[in-house]
Every structure is written in structure tokens, then in C-alpha cells.
């Protein structure tokens, strides 16, 4: 019998080695596997490279992991946020390396890793300073840049429900990076609100088929869904949108 369910988050993250590249799902806090990140902090792995769209919010989850000093480098598209003070401080003091990747290239490079693509020609960032050092090619009259896949040792993701084969479904926009990171990592660990019996997930609606998932751990209903801390966007300069001073 295949049973990928794991009793607790500590057991789920056991074995993550120092120096690992760890993909962490989520866009801002939606889909961020906060409970798994907390377990990773307790686990103590260091010298990590983190792949996430952002660079942490507030003092929880990814931000708390960054604050431990165990992250050597972060690969992301949008570090600057109204509540990214942990990252901001590390970056300004030169204690963390940043690889800035346009969000679509980030997603497509992760997808390429899972799909066995060796590289691809992307239309994004042509003619910008992020094109520096990249191979450019004109195809059918349009300019493209060669981009390479981003592989990871581990992916930590958050989903709504899972079964013992590792099949997952997500909730609303919390789906974001989970499905592509699951496919791009050697080992994928998913926290879910709930583990359901095999066969309860409609085969037409499975978003991440179980072959991409190695461990599934139930964390129950996420308390931080209710704490009100997730609201509020940022403007072009990363200031809270409520502040109307910026154009």
C-alpha cells in the first residue's frame, strides 16, 4: 500500500540537508506553507537557497526563516513589500544574496525543470538590464532570451486536501506556485488542511497528481487564515496602498 501521509511536520521535513535548494510555495502569504517552514526552522538546516515569489512578509513563515540567518540566497521576483522588513534589513546589510527573476520567467523556469526542458526562449526582459549576460535569439522576427530551468532539492507547498497517494487540490489563489514546484523538486512535501480517503478527490479535478508528491502532512485548519494580517496591497514602490501619496 502506498501511504505518503506523515504524522507531523517535524517528521515531514526530516532529512533536509544543509546547502539545499528549497522551493517554497505561496504568493505573499496565500499558499505559503507556514507550518512546514516553522518545522524547517526547528529542523535547523542552514546555508539554504530559497525559491519563492517574494521574500517574506511580517515576522512569520518565510520571513522568520530568513531571520534565522540560515538562508544564503533567495531567488524571487518581488522581494520589496510593505511588510518585508526582515529581508530588507538582510539585503541592505549584504547578508543575503538576491537573484531577481521576472515572475513569468520564474514560473516558466520552474515548470521547465519539472517537464524535462533543457532551456527555452522567453520573450520577457528583452532589452532590459536583466537581459545582460543572457543569450538573445531572434525567432520569427521576435527577440527572445534563453532561460534555464530552476531545479530544487526540496519543495515545501501548501494545499487544501490530499490523499495517501499524494494527490492534491488547492484553494482559490493559494494554488499559485504549488503545482509547478511539486514537479520541479527531487522531494516534495505538502502540508494540507485535511487528508481525505483515496478516491474522495474527483479524478477530473486533481491539480497535482500524486507522482509529484513524496510526503503529505495534515495541519488542520490554518489559524492564520483568520488573523486578518493578510490584507492590504502595495504600490509600485512597495508602500501600503492605503497611503495615497504615490502615483
Amino acid at each position: 500500500m502506498i501511504d505518503k501521509t506523515i504524522a507531523d511536520t517535524a517528521a515531514a521535513v526530516a532529512g533536509i540537508a544543509d546547502g539545499s535548494t528549497v522551493m517554497i510555495g505561496g504568493f505573499g502569504r496565500a499558499g505559503q506553507p507556514v507550518e512546514l517552514i516553522d518545522a524547517l526552522i526547528d529542523h535547523g538546516a542552514s546555508d539554504l537557497t530559497i525559491v519563492n515569489n517574494n521574500a517574506g512578509n511580517g515576522d512569520v513563515g518565510l520571513a522568520r526563516l530568513l531571520s534565522t540567518g540560515r538562508v544564503r540566497k533567495i531567488i524571487c521576483s518581488f522581494p520589496r513589500q510593505s511588510d518585508s522588513w526582515v529581508f530588507d534589513d538582510l539585503y541592505r546589510s549584504g547578508r543575503i544574496e538576491l537573484e531577481l527573476v521576472p515572475q513569468g520567467n520564474l514560473a516558466e523556469r520552474i515548470r521547465a525543470a519539472g517537464a524535462g526542458i533543457g532551456g527555452f526562449y522567453s520573450p520577457t526582459a528583452v532589452g532590459t538590464e536583466l537581459a545582460e549576460g543572457k543569450e538573445e535569439r531572434v525567432i520569427d522576427g521576435r527577440r527572445y532570451l534563453l532561460e534555464y530551468p530552476i531545479h530544487a532539492d526540496v519543495a515545501l507547498i501548501s494545499a487544501l486536501r490530499g490523499d495517501r497517494w499524494g494527490n492534491l487540490v488547492y484553494r482559490e489563489t493559494a494554488r499559485n506556485f504549488g503545482p509547478i514546484m511539486a514537479a520541479a523538486a527531487t522531494s516534495t512535501i505538502a502540508q494540507v488542511d485535511e487528508i481525505v480517503p483515496l478516491g474522495d478527490i474527483d479524478p477530473e479535478s486533481v491539480v497535482t497528481p500524486g507522482l509529484f508528491v513524496d510526503r503529505v502532512v495534515a495541519v488542520g485548519e490554518r489559524a492564520w487564515l483568520q488573523d486578518g494580517a493578510f490584507i492590504g496591497g502595495v504600490d509600485l514602490e512597495g508602500r501600503p496602498l492605503a497611503t495615497e501619496e504615490n502615483a
Binding site: P102, G104, E108, I110, V126, T128, A174, I180, V234
Partner: protein
């Protein structure tokens, strides 16, 4: 003398220019105001790059759901007919040319359509791109929504961008608090001047040739 319209009025002006049935992405910041300016009964389908089509307006305070947010990480709702998808699929829509319009903020727009909106290039600033470079190359029409002038009085419409580029030759129209400009092969042309603005006064403000005799 009236020379500027409010950001809300500008959002309404943009909303009025978007045809029913369009697929539209609104960048973070001021462009999100356009969502509120679209009549509830209009079927304009909003795409948010974090993984949704058919985004609706802000929820009532007691209906806020942290799993349901837009690209600016603000709480939103889902309309009937909505669909969720993952990030690679979401950006495939964008990069594959399936969006009709995107509305972005800007630091500078050049008369050849170049856009700079992700970094002022200031020392010590933390860079952040998000989906702006993908939107710039992906949407059929890239509209910019911005004040015409910076707080220091400099024109955001320029001959050549000095800030780092987001995209090359991508902008088709610029909606500002003073006027609406089309990007044409001959440079900016005034589509509509608000209040007492004229082509001549706008040319003086921007320091650009706007085609006025």
C-alpha cells in the same frame, strides 16, 4: 484653472475605454482603481497573475478570505464564471498574447513606447519586478496610468527612459492626470486633454514634440 483630474476620474476614463468582453490585467498600485470603475454589469474579465480569471471587487469586511487575493495581495472576490490556475498557466496566458489590455503604473514612458516601472535605479533601493516585464511584452495593448509629473515636477513622459527598462516599445497609450496620450510612430500624440490643458501646454510641461503645429 483646472489642469488635473482625480485618480478616480482617471480610472473611470480608462474603464470607459475598455470594450465589453476584454480580458484585462490591472497592475498593482493605482491601476487597481480601474476595477472599481468598471460597472458591475459589464462583462470585462479581470485576470490576476497570481492565478485567477473573473476577479471581482473587494469583499465585505466579514467576507475577507486570505486565500483569495489579487497581484497586489489585496482581498478580492470571484465572479460567476471565474477560474483558478497555477502560476505557469497564468503567465502562459499573459506571455502567449491572450490578454487584451493591461494597465500598469510607470516611473517613465518614452516616446518610442519604452516603459520603466520597476526600479528608479536609486542607490540602496530594493529591486522588485513581479509580473510587470511579462505584462509589458504579453498584453495586446499596454496602457499606462500615472501622474504626468513626478513630485519634483519632472515629466514622466520622456524622449528616452533613464530609469531601468521594464519593456521595449511596449506601451500603446498613457493615461495621466493631465491628458491621455497615444504612442505613435511619430512619438506621443494627445488623444484627449483634460480641463484647460492644450497640446501646447502639455508640450511645455513634458518638453516633448507632441505634434502641435
Amino acid at each position: 484653472m483646472s489642469t488635473r483630474i482625480s485618480r478616480q476620474d482617471l480610472a473611470a476614463r480608462i474603464a470607459a475605454d475598455i470594450p465589453e468582453g476584454s480580458i484585462v490585467n490591472l497592475g498593482i498600485g493605482a491601476p487597481t482603481l480601474v476595477a472599481d470603475a468598471i460597472p458591475a454589469e459589464a462583462e470585462i474579465i479581470l485576470h490576476t497573475e497570481n492565478g485567477m480569471l473573473g476577479m471581482g471587487g473587494a469583499p465585505a469586511a466579514d467576507q475577507v478570505d486570505p486565500d483569495l487575493i489579487n497581484a497586489g495581495k489585496q482581498a478580492v472576490t470571484a465572479r460567476a464564471g471565474a477560474a483558478y490556475f497555477h502560476h505557469a498557466d497564468s503567465f502562459a496566458m499573459m506571455r502567449g498574447g491572450h490578454l487584451d489590455v493591461c494597465v500598469l503604473g510607470a516611473f517613465q514612458v518614452a516616446e518610442n513606447g519604452d516603459l520603466a516601472n520597476w526600479s528608479t535605479g536609486a542607490e540602496g533601493a530594493i529591486p522588485a519586478i513581479g509580473g510587470a516585464m511579462d505584462l509589458a511584452i504579453g498584453a495586446k495593448d499596454v496602457y499606462v496610468m500615472t501622474d504626468l509629473l513626478t513630485r519634483d515636477g519632472a515629466s514622466k513622459l520622456v524622449a528616452r527612459c533613464t530609469s531601468p527598462l521594464t519593456g521595449v516599445g511596449c506601451v500603446s497609450r498613457v493615461y495621466t492626470d493631465h491628458a491621455v496620450f497615444d504612442v505613435t510612430p511619430d512619438g506621443f500624440r494627445v488623444r484627449e486633454a483634460f480641463g484647460d490643458n492644450t497640446v501646447a501646454s502639455l508640450a511645455e510641461l513634458t518638453g516633448l514634440d507632441l505634434g502641435g503645429e
